[in-house]
């Protein structure tokens, strides 16, 4: 995924360049998901990871919010999977 390292988003009228951290798909929702960060630290000292979805079939080029609890549960599972796959 070297060619997909960065994406540019618009947030509150401001353009932000973000690093793509991971992507995955789900047949259940027929969506693809992307995790990215603007590398800014939140007040708790942690980096924010944003998760958005998009419709890979339509290819509108627009990222959308994650809407349902089921989607969030799935995302948590993926994050756990990512964490477990990392060999420290």
């Amino acid at each position: 995924m070297e060619e997909l390292e960065k994406i540019t988003i618009e947030k509150n009228g401001e353009r932000l360049e973000c690093d793509v951290l991971f992507t995955f798909d789900s047949e259940d929702t027929n969506k693809a998901y992307i995790g990215y960060t603007d590398n800014k630290l939140a007040s708790n000292g942690r980096k924010n990871i944003y998760i958005s979805s998009f419709d890979p079939i339509l290819g509108t080029g627009t990222l959308e919010d994650v809407e349902t609890d089921e989607e969030w549960d799935m995302i948590k599972d993926v994050l756990k999977e990512i964490e477990e796959s990392i060999e420290r």
């Binding site: 991971f22 798909d25 693809a32 980096k47 477990e84």
Partner: protein
């Protein structure tokens, strides 16, 4: 049974009486002398305790009686079914069930006294007589009743039963009633346990003050519990009676000519009116209300019913029935099916399935893989290498945040790239959907089994692929939520009822405050109020219980289940959680587990201690064998298919896994595994031995034959003992005779055969004295040895040895005489060439030159006899026993000189038959032992010589 029930009732009345007495005593405590109170109190406590024990014993007998009776009836039905069943597999299942029933009956009967057994026997026979369709052609003998395996061919003929005999007042099926009865029995048992718990608590108290305080608190509870108990008992009797009626109906069903449960062919002529039927149908709309209302159903609203008409509600998985006189709302009733019943074959009652059996059946033929969960949830997870590096560094923690309200543009190539990655395989999806479908089709009983048993450490230990847990959790959510929804519906109804009634009661109270009311009006209002109040306590109790139950389902049960699934998904409690190895579902391993679980459950059900233990050990060992903990670059980690952890732990996924790994999990797992490993090793050893048993038996057989031969040889040799002894005696006498002859000849030769000379006379006299002394000495010695042996003061071997010594001494004397005579004979021979004395002289010279020849021969004879005795002492059993001993014990035993000498002979003989290395471990050991021992002796001798 009646006698037991009477006895039980008598004891229960006595218990109530004693409890009342106790209560009175407690009330009078302050008015009576302390000592007197304590004495009476102690007496009552002891009496109550005795009565409780007695009740408990009778209850057990009654339970066994009921169970045995029910099983005997079931057995008859099963045999009938077996006879009519054509499917081979089904036949096998039924046959197995019959066998299981027979075992159960034996176990139950063992709990009954001989008198009670007789009573049961008579009752069964009596019932058979009442049901000619069963024993018309072949009466059931007493033996058959008590020994159900005697005849499998009994086929009840139901073809000639009078249709009109069908009872009209039984609406419930036997299976429903049995379920109901089973619940009541459980509640009865619980009630007894409650009693016992109260008294157990009481017995712990030693101080009078605390006892009194306890009584203040618990006496009312005891009395209350006793009331519950009484109600349950009545309920039980009622259900039993109804069940009996229902069974009679089944058996008497005229519609079919085969199975007693085939009720459905023709409509039964139930004597129920149209109105009643309508009422029943109306009642059926009330499904979801609390427990069954049986017997006295006197509701204040809703349809009224004939009091004789028992009703049954659909419990929809709710907790047990409300017992006793429930005089509130009429309970929901089961809709009466007036359509002609369909014919169906009644399958034998199936035992409850265990967790592993359920999972095994669920996954049969499906390859459930470790990655399935991700496929189900998500796929094609791609992680950017920089992110990986960052995660590995551990330098950052992250917030996962929404992006609400943000419209973002994404480069087209990202979308197209990802689009190509939606690559699910249809087969995978199909497989998972099949599994999902199977889970959705699980029975209520199976789901409850999973809900109750597949949790906590079990989930962690089994380490099934996560997809299974995910799907089960989904199903469990909907399953439990259905229950909770049903309870909530009940709660809602009950709340409505209670509040509506309360409003009406308040209105009545308001009216009653009117002083102008006539007496009739007042009475009428009071009656209305009383009616409204009736059963409120029960309704409120039901509300409270339902509330608790619903919360248990949700917070404790379902929430706990989900937490356990989460814990399993994160491999919580597994050593090296992050790096624990995942596996696809091993169907073969699961099938084994399920088999052991089935067998264990069956054994527990039938009370087969040995089988239960055997399968418990096998199951535990299997888990243990498949648990593997390894040291790796990541530290200690679980790499086995299972994670055996038999001790219960609280699974809290918030704990730091590494702390848990080090201090808790490893310790628990290690301790348990080492225990089971010991058993496993023992079992493997046993299996190895079994596998070589045949070869070992063959070799041992040859060895045994060899040893028998050795034994026989020994016997033959020892049997020669008398011959040797007699030979020695003869040899001694011969030596004396020879000596006398030689001395005579010596004397004559010395005097040149001048017999009349003085010198001859002197020599002759001395010679006579010498050989007479020799003869007398020998004779005395033989007599002495024989006497000693005869009196048992010396053994046969000792006797022989002494004979040998004696014979040797005589032989030595003879040789001495020969030596004296040889020079004289030589001289005489030269002087008298006319006599050829060369033969005599040669013989004498030979003996003289070999003085040990005879004594060696004698010694050898004794030695042979001793060897023979050793051989006789070494029996085939000894060889076998030595062969079967564990090596260390053999070594110990073989450490003794006696065993070593025996074993040495064994080793020599067995070595010839050695075919395999197995079976000769003892031989090898003996060889080694002998070699070492002899080697040591040799070394010692050499050292001594040096």
């Amino acid at each position: 049974m009646n006698s037991l029930k009477e006895e039980l009732e008598r004891n229960q009345n006595e218990l109530i009486h004693l409890q009342e007495e106790m209560k009175n005593l407690r009330n009078a405590e302050n008015d009576m002398p302390r000592e007197s109170f304590q004495r009476d109190y102690q007496r009552l406590v002891e009496l109550i305790s005795q009565i409780e024990d007695e009740i408990s014993s009778i209850q057990r007998q009654i339970a066994s009686y009921d169970a045995a009776k029910k099983d005997i009836m079931d057995l008859r039905r099963l045999r009938d079914t077996l006879d009519k069943e054509e499917d081979g597999n089904a036949k096998d299942e039924i046959a197995e069930e019959i066998s299981s029933k027979e075992d159960e009956i034996r176990n139950f009967m063992a709990n009954l006294t001989p008198n009670t057994q007789d009573e049961l026997r008579n009752e069964i026979i009596s019932e058979n007589e009442k049901q000619p369709e069963y024993n018309e052609d072949r009466p059931v003998s007493e033996e058959e009743v008590m020994n159900p395996e005697i005849d499998d061919n009994e086929v009840p003929d139901l073809s000639d039963i009078n249709n009109e005999e069908v009872s009209s007042d039984v609406l419930d099926s036997p299976s429903d009633l049995e379920d109901e009865l089973s619940k009541v029995n459980e509640q009865l048992q619980q009630s007894i346990n409650n009693f016992l718990n109260i008294f157990d608590e009481e017995r712990k108290l030693v101080d009078q003050g605390t006892i009194n305080a306890f009584n203040q608190e618990y006496m009312d509870k005891k009395i209350e519990e006793n009331k519950i108990f009484e109600k349950l008992k009545k309920r039980k009797e009622e259900l039993e009676a109804r069940l009996k009626d229902a069974e009679n109906i089944e058996i008497k069903d005229p519609t079919q000519n085969s199975h007693p449960l085939l009720l459905e062919e023709k409509p039964r002529p139930l004597s129920i009116t149209t109105d009643q039927n309508n009422n029943i149908n109306n009642n059926s709309k009330l499904l979801g209300l609390p427990g069954p209302v049986l017997g006295e159903t006197k509701g204040i609203s809703g349809p009224t019913m004939d009091e004789q008409q028992p009703t049954k509600n659909e419990t929809l998985g709710l907790p047990g029935p409300v017992l006793g006189e429930t005089k509130g709302l009429p309970g929901p009733t089961k809709k009466k099916d007036t359509k002609p019943p369909k014919q169906k074959t009644s399958p034998p009652p199936k035992p409850k399935r265990g967790v592993k059996r359920i999972i095994d059946d669920l996954t049969q033929g499906l390859e459930v893989k470790k990655k399935d969960n991700k496929k189900y949830k998500a796929s094609n997870i791609n992680i950017h290498k920089n992110f990986k590096t960052e995660l590995q560094s551990g330098n950052y923690l992250y917030n996962i945040v929404h992006t609400a309200g943000t419209v973002m543009k994404v480069p087209f190539q990202l979308l197209s790239k990802l689009k190509n990655k939606l690559t699910y395989r249809k087969e995978d999806k199909k497989r998972i959907n099949t599994l999902k479908e199977r889970i959705n089709n699980l029975s209520e009983e199976d789901l409850m089994t999973l809900y109750n048993e597949y949790r906590g450490n079990t989930v962690i230990a089994e380490r099934f692929p996560t997809i299974l847990n995910t799907l089960l959790e989904e199903k469990m959510n909907s399953f439990i939520m259905e229950k909770v929804t049903a309870i909530n519906t009940n709660l809602e109804e009950n709340y409505k009822k209670v509040f509506t009634d309360y409003a009406q009661i308040e209105a009545i109270e308001e009216k009653l405050r009117n002083e102008n009311l006539s007496k009739e009006q007042k009475d009428s209002l009071l009656k209305q109020k009383e009616t409204l109040l009736k059963g409120k306590a029960k309704q409120i109790e039901s509300i409270r219980k339902d509330y608790v139950q619903a919360n248990n389902y949700l917070s404790g049960g379902l929430h706990g289940f989900s937490e356990d699934m989460k814990a399993a998904a994160t491999k919580l409690s597994c050593v090296g959680k992050r790096f624990t190895k995942d596996y696809d579902l091993d169907q073969e391993l699961l099938a084994k587990e399920a088999h052991y679980e089935d067998e264990e459950n069956k054994a527990i059900r039938t009370g087969n201690d040995e089988k239960a233990l055997e399968n418990f050990i096998k199951g535990e060992s299997l888990l243990s064998e498949n648990t593997e903990i390894k040291e790796s670059v990541f530290g200690t980690r679980s790499v086995g298919k299972k994670y055996y952890s038999p001790l219960a732990e609280m699974l809290d996924y918030r704990d730091d896994p590494f702390i848990r790994d080090v201090f808790t999990t490893v310790a628990v797992a290690s301790a348990a595994i080492s225990t089971v490993n010991a058993l496993t090793t023992q079992r493997k050893l046993h299996e190895t031995l079994q596998s070589e048993q045949q070869e070992a038996a063959r070799v041992n057989n040859i060895n045994n034959r060899q040893m028998d031969q050795v034994h026989q040889t020994g016997s033959d040799i020892v049997a020669q003992n008398d011959n040797f002894t007699n030979g020695l005696k003869a040899q001694m006498n011969q030596a004396v005779t020879d000596a006398s002859g030689v001395i005579e000849r010596k004397n004559l030769d010395l005097v040149d055969w001048h017999i009349g000379t003085d010198k001859y006379h002197q020599l002759d006299a001395a010679g006579h004295n010498a050989y007479e002394a020799m003869y007398n000495s020998t004779k005395a010695s033989i007599a002495d040895i024989t006497t000693k042996y005869g009196s048992g003061s010396i053994s046969q071997a000792d006797a022989l040895s002494q004979f040998v010594n004696l014979a040797n001494a005589q032989q030595a004397k003879l040789v001495g005489i020969y030596n004296e005579y040889i020079p004289i004979l030589s001289s005489y021979a030269k002087a008298h060439p006319q006599f050829d004395l060369s033969g005599v002289l040669g013989a004498m010279k030979y003996i003289s030159k070999h003085p040990d020849a005879i004594s060696n021969m004698n010694n050898s004879m004794a030695s042979v006899i001793n060897s023979g005795e050793s051989l006789i002492g070494l029996t085939a059993e000894q060889v076998k026993a030595l062969d079967s001993l564990p090596s260390d014990l053999s070594t110990t035993i073989l450490g003794t000189a006696t065993s070593a000498s025996l074993a040495y002979n064994v080793a020599k003989n067995m070595g010839k038959n050695r075919k395999t290395s197995y079976g000769n471990a003892v031989t090898d050991m003996v060889d080694e032992y002998v070699e070492n021992t002899y080697g040591e002796e040799e070394t010692n001798e050499k050292q001594r010589a040096a």
